[in-house]
Amino acid sequence: MAKLKSLLDLEELRKSIVAARDPSKLCITICSGTGCHAYASEKVAEAFSSEIEQRGLSGKIDLRRTGCHGFCERGPIVVIFPDEICYLSVKPEDVSEIVSETLIHKKIVERLLYVGDDGKPISNENDIPFYKSQIRIVFGDNRLIDPQSIEDYLALGGYAALAKALFEMTPEEVIEVIKKSNLRGRGGGGFPAGIKWETTRNAPGDAKYVIVNADEGDPGAYMDRSLLEGNPHSVLEGLIIGAYAIGANQGYVYVRQEYPLAVDNVSVAIDQMRELGLLGEKILGTGFDFDIIVHRGAGAFVSGESSALMTAIEGRVGEPRPKYVRTAVSGIHGRPSNLNNVETWANVPLIIKHGADWFRGVGTEGSKGTKIFSLVGKVKHTGLVEVPMGMPLREIIYDIGGGIRDNKKFKAVQTGGPSGGVIPESLLNLPVDFDELSKAGSMMGSGGMIVMDEDTCVVDVARYFLNFLADESCGKCIPCREGIQQMLVVLNRICEGNGTDDDLEILTDLGDMMRDCSLCALGQTAPNPVLSTIQYFREEYEEHIKNHRCPAGVCKELINYYIDPEKCQACMICMRNCPVGAIEGGKNIVHVIMQEKCTKCGTCLEVCPPRFSAVSKLSGVEIPEVAAGGIKVR
């Protein structure tokens, strides 16, 4: 393709792409995001391609591998346009049927459709309850485009926002629009992006940098990943607009090495942009020069912290440094550097295109627009959801997520990744935005949302996240390094039934100190899982400490498995399945668990036939004595 040298060139190219496309033509889109890829979506795609060829339909049907659709739990997802018929959990064996039924005979394959709670199948993707309450302004294009095709992005109006910024607006006007939109950083802090841009623009210095933070490392969170994999151009377009507004000529995409598809797609996108003259010297014939370097992270969670990330880009160990002077003033090599995360950048072209008022039309007083969450854990429908700011947690979990799996009871939801807090049922009506979440002792973070059911022990959850942070802390400052380790010591003690009465006070003291004194945000927020669980689930901690009881039956040291001799039918199933041979008994002899041998794996509870349900989990009570081999089954 020839370089675009003017606004006219860009519009001509767009026109020619759109003209060559027929919106009524059949198009099979296969989600090829990481989730579906893991479900072998590539095999499905290959099956489609050979099926189409075999039936001589080549040219009549388009096949497109798109980015993540969001409903990852039911992948691989296949959507057939123009009717947007959505097939879930498609296997290569289903392909031939889909082609003959749907593509040739225009019939719907019902068994692959989503079935609602009322038993009725739903064929159109947008009618599925998981998608229905979402507003997918940022994430919605993922399902329409092939991330490796810049034509697909251009066909949907891509780079029009860039053109608008370059040809119709001054840098100051761009900043003004972003400020007015009140776009807040989606990476965790929620700092207003426009103000950050302005600070960077006004900071003294010739060389300035703009950076995409794609170092998403929260366990269970993958929204930035899916956005960068699925629609890299939207992020990069935002970045160029930002660079123009700030006056930067160099950009970085700091992306995790562990996200190979994101690295690939973003690199391909950058090459395409260079080829078209959307990067490089004199972009679209203007005087604006800009280029982007992809910097791959080396696997440290803490490198997602802005100053650590910039240190890593400089080529040094990714350790945070104090930010009493903002990175917007002194960042990479001491130069003004503006860092925003993937989702924030992806919002920018939309705001420029549709205006600040359009963006402000959705959201709450202090938080505008939408937010993508990765809804995981014990909900029925897991995946990525984009909802307007201010949607109550209950709606996200019950309407979109479909409620708790296996008809269990909801217990808590952890938002904001490992440094977020745990929110109890009493706060389920909390509108989700930056301010409300931090008032509740949690945070937005980058948008992780882990739902927990009644079988979850909050002490164990706090311990899990602290364990993660103990490995991921850089270890530079004492509050974070030593504080996390000592918190872990105390939490381990509590989970093992050795907690003392002072333990909660020790945890709170440590937590307060870490929150105030740590060097960077990782340490400052590290105590959140502990402090928020103490705040909302204090009695559960006290149960562990005082009664040596784990109410959820999770902490191994505090539970025992027990076979009720009245119920046991001596069927030998648990005996045969016990991996350590800890069950004694025999044919017609009631089985007994030898507690000293038992490793508490729970296999016996799982295999005991439900009609007997003789095995139970005990916590905090004495195990009734049963003489081994003594009782015969009646």
């Binding site: 103990a470 270890g475 390094r481 000592q486 307060d512 105030d516 004194c517 740590s518």
Partner: protein, 273 residues
């Protein structure tokens, strides 16, 4: 040993030094007073006392300039500030907002109110001292008492090195030698000596005394490398964890290296002293 004596001794041993020793400690000194005449004067209050300072100074420097004591550990006036120990944390109030900052790094600002011993600061400092003590049992008694630290509240995991980074900065900033560095992350973080450099450079450093040992507040660094020049032909492991040294070693090192710059950490209560 007074400062004058120490300086005298340093000078006398200068001739014996090799290339590494040429960089004098003083040359890395950062000015406490403003370096530039044109620096702007700012006024702030520290513990209610009006203090005049110059832009570019840190809160710690401003406090020290009027004789207000703030405990420090990883700070050394002749090395770059690092902000790791957080012992020098103070409360800064501007308007209605209050926050805790590391005074060794926070630049002075006009009109701010600084509290070096507020209730919050004292409480946090106590916790930090208790945490330091889990690694290094002989923290100065007076300081512990001053902040009401309760020893034994946390699990001890004595390994002597408190990871203050003074040796690492001394070696790289003053000696430009980079024989020491951090490896590992989080709980695994430790200081190691890089043998391939150490074997060439350490025996020449500060007249064979290894300058890093003189800034180490806990005496954890062995003098092994002072005796392991190429001429000794010793075989060395690839990375040499400083903290592998046991209690006896630490005690011996503390007794032999008298060149203290961090007197408060060295405790009178240290066994065998």
């Amino acid at each position: 040993m007074s400062t004058e004596e120490r300086k005298g001794q340093d000078t006398s041993s200068r001739q014996t030094r090799g290339a590494v020793g040429d960089q004098r400690l003083e040359s890395a000194a950062q000015p406490v007073a403003p370096a530039v005449e044109a620096a702007q004067q700012v006024e702030l209050t520290i513990n209610g006392q009006a203090v005049e300072a110059w832009e570019g100074m840190t809160l710690l420097q401003a406090a020290q300039s009027v004789g207000i004591f703030i405990p420090t550990l990883c700070h050394h006036k002749e090395l770059s500030d690092y902000g790791a120990c957080r012992l020098c944390s103070v409360e800064v109030i501007r308007g209605r907002r209050s926050r805790i900052v590391a005074s060794c790094l926070y630049p002075v600002e006009d009109g701010i109110e600084v509290l070096t011993e507020s209730e919050k600061v004292v409480k946090h400092r106590k916790t930090i001292l208790e945490l330091i003590q889990t690694r290094w049992p002989w923290v100065d008694k007076e300081l512990l008492e001053k902040y009401g630290a309760q020893p034994g509240r946390f699990e001890e995991k004595t390994d002597f090195c408190i990871l203050c980074g003074l040796c690492v900065r001394y070696c790289s900033e003053v000696k430009k030698a980079d024989c020491l560095g951090f490896v590992g992350r989080g709980a695994q973080r430790q200081v190691v000596i890089y043998p391939e450099r150490a074997i060439e450079l350490c025996y020449k450093c500060d007249g064979g005394k290894m300058g890093c040992r003189s800034v180490c507040p806990t005496g954890t660094i062995p003098n092994e490398f002072a005796h392991t020049g190429p001429r000794f032909g010793k075989k060395l492991p690839l990375a040499y964890p400083v903290k592998s040294y046991n209690e006896d070693n630490a005690r011996e090192v503390l007794q032999t290296v008298g060149d203290w710059r961090m007197p408060w950490v060295r405790s009178q209560t240290m066994p065998g002293k």
